[in-house]
Subunit: 256 residues, 2 copies
Amino acid sequence: MGVRAVETETKAEGTSVLSLEELRARLQAVGEERYHHKHPFHLLMHEGKLNRGQLQAWALNRYYYQSIIPIKDSIILSRGPDPVFRRAWRKRVVDHDGDATSEGGIKRWIKLAEATGLDAADVRDGKGILPATRFAVNEYLNIVRSRSLLEAVASSLTELFSPNLISLRVDKLRQHYPWLAGGLDYFEARLYQAPEDSQFAVNYVHDHAKTRAEQELAIQALRDKCDILWAQLDALYFAYVQPGWPPPGAFQIEGK
Amino acid sequence: MGVRAVETETKAEGTSVLSLEELRARLQAVGEERYHHKHPFHLLMHEGKLNRGQLQAWALNRYYYQSIIPIKDSIILSRGPDPVFRRAWRKRVVDHDGDATSEGGIKRWIKLAEATGLDAADVRDGKGILPATRFAVNEYLNIVRSRSLLEAVASSLTELFSPNLISLRVDKLRQHYPWLAGGLDYFEARLYQAPEDSQFAVNYVHDHAKTRAEQELAIQALRDKCDILWAQLDALYFAYVQPGWPPPGAFQIEGK
């Protein structure tokens, strides 16, 4: 499960327990500093400056992240002693794996990858994904297995920030890459799923972090989760934008 | 523990069990393709083209790798049912943690980091290491915990390749960065430690992989280990060479 990240932020703000509003403000500040909405790979995407091969590399690698989300949520389910908690959290597994009435987020991401021109079977197999993607994503599993349930729940709180990013992304993808328009169902669904989830998780963290120290651990878990998202885009940028050096065995953009 | 890497190599060579010589040849071929002696960050280092700040970033991040080696070897010890195996493997923990007669590899790496101008306490705290370093290194722990003992042992086999790289590195560091000369004890020790270790591990893999399928799993473990080393240098290159964008919270080169 690895060794925990060392906290890089000071805790000098005090030791009193944060109110719900103060907690929300601290979580928002983490997002401002570290959420991947500011990552240069996303900025290029939103400016229409990625080519099809770069979008393929993104869809392929990000699929690995998508594919483990219901695994990480199942780990959290397995650690939740309370049926009421599990009933609420189970929604996330359904959202991604689907049910009789919905195909689920993983299938929708496959459709996005197909819209970029990738073969669905290759995407499912993870053929050519960057090792750095695997390492970052597996760290998410390490966190929900090895830390407290409180921290595991808190690590999901990037969903506080995702609706704004997804709204922007959907607009920009339609504008700059109209050939992708048929593959955007994943994002449409997340626009209403994520706010429900993050509201539950913020309340859970506030209710279950009984001390300031526990609140700080929860905030650190969100920081670490942001690092996991950011590192995935760093690896994509390095391999496929600049300098553009995919490691041995990784996906190569056609025609390069 | 994450989801295992998908094999990117074909296994079309056949299904018969490899002889010791054939196994060695296959392992060497993995090294030729994937070991980090060919990584552009190392090439810059050996050409004398890294500045002090870049060498600091390397020493700082690589310390995290060094620091978990005896942890991963202790995990392997904990999984070895045979006292004879454990007695042989225990040497590795001693090599890195030290004993009454030797300071050990971790302490020697700290001396190298100090020779670059870093503060020992900051290095030990992991202050400012790249998240991507943590993720890659933690994956090494995932592998030795979650795969078979055979694969855990095989993942150490990058030591087949390290003496050549270290010999070259010591020469080049002395030549291009003479101010580092006082910090090279780590490498001097590894030059005689690593060959003993890799000889034991190759023989172990050959003796304990009873089928071709098991041999292929061992070869894949070495490939995955090479990816772990390679990804660490990709992250350094991206953050500190080109484009030179350390992620939020990471070590910054002074004067930049």
